[in-house]
Chain length 356, copies 2
């Protein structure tokens, strides 16, 4: 089961409020998805995620395929049951991780050959295999194998990646074993920072009739205005009535700008990674809790925040935990940073709904 419903469109931009219906529940859009790379959102238990009102999390196909393996997850009853998370899960295609993590990556016509970053063993991802892996996971939203290129990148190379991504998207679609429990397979648009290639990729992928779309290859080093330009081109072409996931983006300002350009779903490691390194997020940006000015600061990180961390602890205490290298420190800031992003999405939805 998969359905997208637009509740309200903004008159001021391409922003919209919607609902995605899946086998594991409903997602309000725009929505931020915490990243749970290895079948856990780092430092967070499922109940912590429920408490911050996460509605969907993201898992990484590349990581989970290598460890603990899709067969083990299938035997456990799927990824939801394995990690004890009963709300929706989106899994990525592994394309970006192969591109950024794997050793000795080699792109072939039929897929990508790579060596595991864990133990050097050789593996082959084909479009069919990547779909099969995600069906073993029981993901609510699956992504097809795509080819992500670096920024900046030679136009010829980007063109090849667009061709390959379209070709693999077709093969992925044909690989789905249909059942009532099936998740939805999205199509991914690539095209680097070339307007004509973005346009072509969006047209080719739109033509394949996917129930939703990922916009890939952005937030890889290009300036924000270029990212926005590319996104604008893509959302003008993709069908308006389908949800769009701007993959791997980003900072709050990136996300707010992308919502205005029609993006609905977001994921990024920024809130969780910054938390583990001791930075908390507010509307003013990121701030390191380690600073000496917080030593005797007995106020919460954000007095207006409703998260457990802000309702319970002071900056002085959290700072102490970081300097003392206590693990709890990382969890407390992760709770706050993720809640910050999820509250931000709720605020944006409310603003659109309140528009006259």
């Amino acid at each position: 089961m998969f359905k997208f419903e637009i509740i309200k469109k903004s008159k001021r931009s391409k922003a919209r409020v919607g609902k995605v219906y899946t086998n594991h529940g409903v997602i309000d859009t725009p929505m931020f998805m915490p990243v749970g790379t290895q079948a856990t959102v780092k430092t967070m238990s499922p109940r912590n995620l429920n408490e911050i009102e996460a509605q969907i999390i993201l898992g990484n196909t590349y990581h989970l395929y290598l460890r603990p393996g899709n067969q083990l997850i299938k035997n456990a009853g799927g990824l939801h049951k394995f990690m004890s998370w009963d709300k929706p899960i989106l899994t990525d295609s592994g394309g970006f991780q192969v591109y950024s993590l794997a050793h000795k990556r080699k792109v072939l016509e039929c897929g990508v050959e790579f060596s595991s970053h864990l133990d050097g063993t050789k593996h082959l991802f084909t479009p069919q295999k990547v779909v099969e892996i995600q069906q073993d996971f029981g993901s609510d939203i699956m992504m097809p194998l795509d080819e992500c290129v670096a920024y900046p990148c030679d136009k010829k190379q980007v063109e090849e990646s667009v061709n390959r991504t379209t070709c693999w998207a077709k093969e992925s679609e044909q690989s789905i074993v249909n059942s009532a429990q099936n998740g939805a397979l999205f199509g991914i648009v690539q095209g680097g920072c070339f307007q004509d290639l973005r346009k072509r990729s969006a047209e080719e992928i739109a033509a394949l009739g996917f129930p939703g779309f990922g916009v890939g290859g952005l937030s890889v080093g290009e300036p924000q205005n270029q990212m926005f330009d590319m996104l604008d081109i893509v959302t003008d072409i993709l069908p308006e009535d389908k949800p769009k996931h701007l993959m791997g983006v980003g900072f709050a300002s990136d996300i707010l700008g992308a919502i205005k350009r029609g993006a609905d779903l977001f994921d990024c490691v920024i809130p969780t990674r910054l938390a583990r390194h001791g930075s908390f997020l507010t509307l003013e940006g990121k701030t390191s809790i380690r600073q000496s000015r917080f030593e005797k600061d007995f106020s919460p990180i954000d007095p207006d925040c409703d998260c457990y961390t802000c309702k319970t602890f002071t900056k002085a205490y959290i700072r102490h935990l970081f300097w003392a290298r206590e693990i709890l420190a990382m969890q407390l800031l992760t709770i706050h940073n993720l809640r910050f992003f999820i509250r931000l999405m709720a605020k944006v939805r409310k603003e659109i709904l309140d528009e006259n």
Copy 2:
């Protein structure tokens, strides 16, 4: 406020069920106290501690004095408020940590001179200072500065440590600034593994009329039967109607044996440390979750355990988290291991209460 009430004495041993009343609530004894060295029980939030039904935690005076400092904790409103834990706290004397952690330790008549293990700075702990620090913390149970010796140890040295410990105990008692909010200062018995010195120390400390007692210098390498013998001597001498804390002990079998010898309170880093290293506790002892036999084990650690970990996750999943070096793994095993000890204490209390 501090009161100890014996609810029932066992007819089969010196074991008893009791209640300790403090300004921050009641403690059922026998009770295990999770160790919160640096103003946090490692990986556990206060609500995690409440959930496993921890009734009292232990803080380390040495660590907290060095970082964040007793003055800062006092300014925060005390240790309870600083760490957001509203139930009782016992703080140790720092004696054992100075003995085991500090550099260039020098025992003087007036106290102990040492260099911080953090930055090498020089400090002096006197009996008075150690009481003042703990009054800054607002601890419910305070421990006086004592001298812990190694095992095995020359008798002359142990005798000196007994003399010093008694002398410092008197000075500690005189240093208390009395108020209604005051915690109770316990007396500490030393004496190594010498029967006559244990006897003498117990008599001298008992004579000072403390509202409760710590038994120190055990579980430092001596065989279990020696530890039990020493404890037996001490609990025969100390007033029966006062609570006794067997400091830093231990494994489940140590604790169960010690309860029969009249000990009421226990603390140890074993459950939390083992958890962070990937071992879980059951009545059979400790087991490493990393073992390959758990790879496809989709059952909980202990089907009879009521902790969040056992009610929610499988061994296969927790094993995966450890191999993937995920922080959540450490928290999940800590929850289980501490709950295991706390349930064990509840079971012992029930057995005594159910005796005919």
